[in-house]
Symmetry: D2
Subunit: 253 residues, 4 copies
Amino acid sequence: MIQMTLIQIDNYGPWTVTPRPRNESDLQILQAELYADLQRQIAMKKGLVFYTRFDNLLAITNGLNHEDHLRIQRSIKNRYPFTISMGVGAAETPHEAQKKATMALQKEGGAQSSERKQILAVDSLVDPEDSFVQVAHIDINSVTETLTDIESAFDTNFMVNKAQHYLMTKLIKKGALLFFIGGDNFMAPCNGLSEQEIEDILVEINDEIEIGLKAGIGRGRNAEDAAYMADLGLEEIRDHNNDMWTYVIEKEY
Amino acid sequence: MIQMTLIQIDNYGPWTVTPRPRNESDLQILQAELYADLQRQIAMKKGLVFYTRFDNLLAITNGLNHEDHLRIQRSIKNRYPFTISMGVGAAETPHEAQKKATMALQKEGGAQSSERKQILAVDSLVDPEDSFVQVAHIDINSVTETLTDIESAFDTNFMVNKAQHYLMTKLIKKGALLFFIGGDNFMAPCNGLSEQEIEDILVEINDEIEIGLKAGIGRGRNAEDAAYMADLGLEEIRDHNNDMWTYVIEKEY
Amino acid sequence: MIQMTLIQIDNYGPWTVTPRPRNESDLQILQAELYADLQRQIAMKKGLVFYTRFDNLLAITNGLNHEDHLRIQRSIKNRYPFTISMGVGAAETPHEAQKKATMALQKEGGAQSSERKQILAVDSLVDPEDSFVQVAHIDINSVTETLTDIESAFDTNFMVNKAQHYLMTKLIKKGALLFFIGGDNFMAPCNGLSEQEIEDILVEINDEIEIGLKAGIGRGRNAEDAAYMADLGLEEIRDHNNDMWTYVIEKEY
Amino acid sequence: MIQMTLIQIDNYGPWTVTPRPRNESDLQILQAELYADLQRQIAMKKGLVFYTRFDNLLAITNGLNHEDHLRIQRSIKNRYPFTISMGVGAAETPHEAQKKATMALQKEGGAQSSERKQILAVDSLVDPEDSFVQVAHIDINSVTETLTDIESAFDTNFMVNKAQHYLMTKLIKKGALLFFIGGDNFMAPCNGLSEQEIEDILVEINDEIEIGLKAGIGRGRNAEDAAYMADLGLEEIRDHNNDMWTYVIEKEY
C-alpha cells in the first residue's frame, strides 16, 4: 500500500493579495523555499514530496507517522508567515490514496476558509508490513541532442510540457499520478501498474506525438528506495542504448 | 522591447548520475533553492525568473546589464556544486527574445559539454529608453470552489495542467510564452499581443475545454512593474465578479 | 552520557581564496545556509547544532546513529561546493565528548589536507538507555530595557559578547561548553554540573562585571527535549520576576 | 563617510515564547536564514551585513538609499512570520554611524513594543561623493596548525572567542567595530583608524594573550570593494610568510 499526504497552505490565495497584491518575486521565492523545506523534512524519513501546485503539494509518505506530520506543521508555523494543513490517506493505488487524503482534509473546511488552520486530517496510515511503493522515473530519449541544443529554450519546454500532459492523461486513467521533476524528467507513483501497462503508454505516446520516452521502474518499502531503484533502472536502459522501453528493479532488504 | 535571459546549469544531466544517481530529494531541494536564489538576485533589479525546467530557466531581464549577469554567475559558482551559463537576447516579442538568447548560448557549446563552463553569451541588451514589458497574469475563475474544495488534489492539478497546455499551445503561435507560477496562476510574457487577441484565446479555451480563465494585463518598463500592474488588473476583474475576460493597466512613471 | 559531533568543512580555508578571494557576502550566505541546513537535518532526529565557528560546528547528537551521520554527509555533498567530515564522541561531560570527537577526526588527517574528504570518524556512540543531556539556557536579565533600548547596537553587542566570554571561561573549567544562540541567549551543554555550580558561576559574573544572568536548566534523553525543558525553566524564573538564579526541569517520559 | 544600518526584528523576544517557547532548532534555522537572506539583498547593492546578535544586525550600507531599505523590509514581511525595523546613520567612524542609526530607531519605540512595526528611521545617508569605507580583515596566524588540528574543537573556539573579545575591547575605544565572520576571521569596519593604530592593537594582543594576528586593510567606496581589498591585503601578508602585521590596499576606480 502507498501512503500519500496532501499539504495545503491555509488560506493562501487571499493572503497573497491582502492588503494588496504581494510582489510576485517574493511569492515565487516563498513557494520554492517552502517546497525545498518540506522536501528536506520529509526526505529525512525517506518520503518524497512533489511541488504539484506549490500551494497544494502531494507527497509519498510511507514511513511517516502522525507525530512526524505534526512536527513538520509546527516547524513551518514557526518560520513562515502562514500555516499548513495536511490530509493523509493510504490505498492500493496512488490516485486512491491522494483522493482519501484530499477528502479527509476537505471535511475539515475549505482551503480558503479563514477558520481552518493547521489541521491534520488522517484518513489512514500504512502499516510498516504493508508498506510498498512503486514509482516510474520517466525521461525523454536524447533530449539534449534532439531538443535542448537545437530548439529554443521555450520550444523545448513546450515539448516537455506536451509529453507531461499526454503522460498525465493516460496515467490518471490507470490510478497512477505524474509529476514533473525538472529537466526532461517525470516521476509517476504507480502502485498496481504492470510493466506492460507502462510500456503500452510509452508506445502510444511515441505513436501519437513522436516523443520517445523510457521508464526506470523501482519498487521498495518507501519512496526513497523506490525512486533510487527507478534511477538504477533508467541507467540500465541507457547502458543498453535506449533499446528497451522499461526496466524494473525491486529493492532487496 | 523585451530582454530575456536563458540560464542553464552546465553539464547538469551527467552530474546528477555521477558516479551513481544522486538522491532525488537532494536534487529537488537543490533545484528549488537555485531557483529561489536566482529569483532573489534578479528581483533586486526588477527582473523576474520562471522555473521553466529547473535546469533551464527563462527570465525577463530588462534592467540587468552585462555586469549584473556576471555577478549572478559568480555568486552561484561560489555556493553551488556546479556553474551556470547564460544567453541574453532582446526582441519585439518574448519568443523571439528567448530564441536569440538560446542561440547565442548554443553557439558556445552544448548543455552537456564538459568544456563549456560559466559562459555569458549576449546577443543583445535592451536600451533603457526602449525597455518595455507586457505580461498577462492569468488565473482560473473560482478554482477553490469548483476544483480545490471538491475534486481530489491530483485531479485539480490535472485540470490546471490541462489549462496550461492549451494556453501554451495557443500563445506560442503568437510569439508569447507561458509559465505556471503556482496555484491556478500563469504568467504570460506577451509583448506585441493585443488585449483582443488575449481575450480570443481565453474564449477559445472556455469553448474547447470549459475552463473559465481571466487575464490581468500589465505594462511597464520592467518585469516587476508589469507583473504588479497585471495583478492590479486581475483585482479589477474580481471586483467586477469576473464578468470581463481581461483588464489592462499601464504603469505611469 | 552525552554524544557530540564535530562537523568540519573539508579544506575550507584554501577553498575560500582559490583562485582568488571569494566574495565575502557569498561566503557569509554559504556558511549561514550550511548551518541552517545541518540544523534542519539534525533536528529531525532531536539533536541540536551550534554554529560555533561556521566551518567547524559542534552538535549534540544523542539519537543519531552511524547511518544518520552518513546520510547528512551525502546530502551536503550533493548540494554544496564542498564536502564535510565528522567526528563523533560520547562521554560523561560535553567537553570530554567533543574532545573525543575532535581527536577521532584529527587522526584521519588535517582540516586543510586536500586528501581528507568526507570522513566519518566515530570514537563512540551513546546507547539509547544511557542517553542523557543537560543544557542550561542562559539569558541576560531585562536586556531590552537596560541595553537594547538605551545603548547603541554595538555597545549592547559588546556587553553580550563580554558575558559570553566570562561564561565560557568559567564553564570550560567545569567540563561544560557555551554557545551564543542569538539575542541575549546562550546555551550551555553541561552534563555533570550541579544546579549550585551553575548558580555560583552566575553569581560570580554578576559580582565581577555586573551583568545579571539567569539559567533555565533542562534534562532529557536528547538535546531537543533538554532544550525545551530549559526554556520552560526560564519561563518559570520570569514568572517569578527573575528572583531566582536557576530553575531545573527534567523531562518525564 | 560610512553609512550603517541597524536591522531589528520587531518584538522578537516575546514572539519566541508565545504562546509557549518555540522549538530552539526552528529559531536557529529562522535566524540563520534571515541573515543569509538580508546578506543576499544587501550584497546586491555592494553592502555587507554582520549577523551581530541575529535579532539585531548591523550592516555597512554605503550605496543603499531610502527605497532600497524599504524594498528589503517589504520582502521580509512577505516571507517571514515577523517584520523588521531599520535605523540608518552616516558618520566619520563606524561607531558613531551605528549609534546614530540606533538612536534614530530607538526614538520610534522599543524593540519589544507591540506597536512599533516595520519602521524605517533614517538619521542620515552618505552622499555618493563622500562614500568611503575602510575595513580590516583580521585572522589568526596559522590557526589550523596551532589550534584546529591539535586542540579540541571547543578549545579552539574558545581561543578564537578570546581573541574576539580582546579585539572588540580595544577597537571600540577607537570608534571601530568588530564582527566574527567564521573560522578564525574577523572583520573590523574602521574608518578613521590609521594602519599604525591597527598594528599597535595587534601587537598588544600578541603581548597580552599570545595570539598572533594579522590584518589586511581595504579601502573603497563601498563595503564590498573595501572587503575585497582587505582580502587581497591578507593574501599579501601570507605571501610574505606573515612577517608583517598589516597591509593596506586602496581600490582604484
